[in-house]
C-alpha cells in the first residue's frame, strides 16, 4: 500500500492526479531524454544508417551487376548457339552440294566411260567383222584349191591315174 500512498501524495502534489503532470519530474526526464536521444541520433547518423544503407546499396549493386553479367552471358550464349546453328546449316548446305556435285560428276564420268567403251567396243566389233570378212574371203579362195585337190584325189582313187591339175582346174566352175 506504500505505492497507493505515493499515488495519493502525488495526486495532492500534482495537478489533477496524473503523475505525468507532476512538474518536479519534468526537468530530469527532459534532460535525460535530450541526452539519450542526442546520442542515439549521433549513432544513427554516424554508424547505423551509413552502415546498413551502405550494405543495402552494395547488395543492390551486386545484384544489379550479377543480373547484368547473367544477361550478358546469356546474350553471348545465344549468339554462340545462333552462330553454331548457322555454321551447321552452312555445313549441311555444303555437304548437300558436295554430294550433288559428286553424283553429277560420277554420272558424267560413267556416261563418258560408257560411251568410250561403246566406241571401243564398236571399233573392235567392226575390226572383228572386217577380219571375219577377210578370213571368209580368204577361205573362199582356198575353197577352189581344196575342191581341186579333192577332185584330183577322187579321180586318182577312181581311175588310178592322177588327173592333170589343169584338167581339174578346167572341170571346176569358174566361181565356187
Amino acid at each position: 500500500m506504500a505505492d497507493a500512498a505515493a499515488v495519493a501524495a502525488a495526486a495532492e502534489k500534482g495537478s489533477g492526479g496524473l503523475p505525468q503532470f507532476d512538474a518536479s519530474q519534468w526537468p530530469g526526464q527532459i534532460v535525460w531524454m535530450l541526452v539519450i536521444f542526442g546520442v542515439l541520433v549521433f549513432l544513427f547518423s554516424k554508424v547505423f544508417v551509413p552502415k546498413v544503407g551502405g550494405t543495402i546499396a552494395e547488395r543492390e549493386d551486386k545484384i544489379g551487376g550479377d543480373i547484368g553479367d547473367a544477361r550478358r552471358l546469356r546474350d553471348e550464349a545465344e549468339a554462340q548457339s545462333k552462330a553454331a546453328a548457322d555454321e551447321l546449316a552452312a555445313a549441311r548446305g555444303r555437304a548437300h552440294k558436295l554430294a550433288l556435285d559428286a553424283k553429277t560428276a560420277a554420272a558424267a564420268e560413267s556416261a563418258a566411260r560408257r560411251s568410250e567403251e561403246d566406241a571401243k567396243l564398236s571399233a573392235s566389233l567392226s575390226e572383228a567383222e572386217a577380219r571375219i570378212g577377210q578370213v571368209k574371203a580368204e577361205a573362199m579362195t582356198h575353197v577352189r584349191a581344196i575342191a581341186a585337190e579333192t577332185a584330183g584325189a577322187i579321180v586318182e582313187r577312181l581311175t588310178g591315174t592322177s588327173a592333170a591339175p589343169a584338167e581339174v582346174e578346167r572341170a571346176l566352175p569358174a566361181q565356187a
Partner: protein
C-alpha cells in the same frame, strides 16, 4: 484486495539518487536515475546493440541483419523517401532514430511490470519540441525569410489571406502540442484501459468467491481476461503505429520546409 490505482503505473520512482545539478538560469535539476530514465537508457542501449549487430554488412544477411534492414527500408522507403523526397536523405538518421526509440519504448512498456516512458508527457513534449525546433531551424536555414511563405497558401484570393495566414500560423504552432499529446494520450489511454480490465479479472473473480449468484462474476472475469488479451494485441499495433505516426508527421513537417520552393 488491492485498491484499483490505474495511475500508479505511471509513477516516477527513484532508483539511483544523483545530487541535483545546478544549471545557471534554470536552478537545480534533479538528474537522479528514475525508473523512467533507466528505461530510456536501457532502450538506447538495446537499440544500439541491435543495430551494431544488424550493421555487420554481409551481402547475404542473417536474421538479425535482415530485420535491421527491414526497419531501415521502412524508414528510408516508407518515411523519408516518399514523404520528403530526395532532399529527405539527410534527415533519415533523425527520423530513423526517433522511430526506433519511440517504437522500442512503446513496445517495451507493454511488457507487464515495465515502465512506459512514452506515457510521460515530459518525454513526448521533449521529442515533439526537438522535432519542431529542428523544423523551424531547417526552415530558416533552407529558405531564409522565405520560410514565412509556409503560412501563405498558394492559389487563393489575396483578401482570403487575412483569414488563412493566421489559421496557418496557429496550426503550425500547435504542431508540437498535437505531436506530443497524440503519443502521450495513446499510451496512457491504452495502459489505463488495460489496467482496468486487468483489475476486473481479479476483482470479479474475488467477488465470485462469495458464492451463489456471485458465481456469475467468473463470467465477467473471463470476459475481462479476453479483453486484456485483445487489448494487448491492439496496443501492440498502437505502439508501433504511434511511433510510425510520430515519425511520419516529422517527415511531413520537414517536407513542408524542405520542399517549400516546390510549391506545396
Amino acid at each position: 484486495m488491492a485498491a484499483i490505482q490505474p495511475m500508479e503505473q505511471f509513477m516516477i520512482k527513484k532508483i539511483v539518487d544523483v545530487p541535483p545539478v545546478l544549471v545557471p538560469g534554470l536552478g537545480p535539476i534533479d538528474l537522479s536515475i528514475t525508473n523512467s530514465v533507466a528505461t530510456m537508457i536501457f532502450a538506447a542501449a538495446m537499440i544500439s546493440i541491435f543495430f551494431l549487430a544488424a550493421a555487420r554488412g554481409k551481402v547475404v544477411p542473417g536474421r538479425l541483419q535482415a530485420f535491421g534492414e527491414i526497419l531501415y527500408d521502412l524508414a528510408d522507403k516508407g518515411l523519408t523517401g516518399p514523404m520528403i523526397g530526395d532532399r529527405g536523405r539527410p534527415f533519415l538518421p533523425y527520423v530513423f532514430a526517433l522511430f526506433s526509440l519511440i517504437a522500442f519504448l512503446d513496445i517495451w512498456g507493454l511488457i507487464p511490470g515495465q515502465f512506459t516512458v512514452t506515457s510521460q508527457l515530459a518525454v513526448t513534449v521533449t521529442l515533439a519540441v526537438v522535432t519542431f525546433a529542428m523544423v523551424v531551424i531547417v526552415g530558416f536555414l533552407r529558405n531564409g525569410l522565405g520560410f514565412f511563405k509556409l503560412f501563405v497558401p498558394g492559389g487563393v484570393h489575396w483578401a482570403m489571406l487575412f483569414l488563412l495566414v493566421p489559421i496557418e500560423f496557429v496550426s503550425f504552432l500547435v504542431r508540437p502540442v498535437t505531436l506530443s499529446m497524440r503519443l502521450f494520450g495513446n499510451m496512457i489511454g491504452g495502459h489505463v484501459v488495460m489496467y482496468m480490465f486487468g483489475s476486473f479479472v481479479v476483482a470479479l473473480a474475488v467477488f465470485a468467491m462469495n458464492g451463489g449468484l456471485a458465481y456469475l462474476g467468473f463470467v465477467g472475469s473471463a470476459l475481462s481476461l479476453a479483453m486484456v488479451v485483445a487489448l494487448t494485441a491492439l496496443e501492440l499495433i498502437v505502439a508501433f503505429l504511434q511511433a510510425f505516426v510520430f515519425a511520419a508527421l516529422t517527415c511531413t513537417y520537414l517536407s513542408d520546409v524542405v520542399n517549400l520552393d516546390h510549391g506545396h
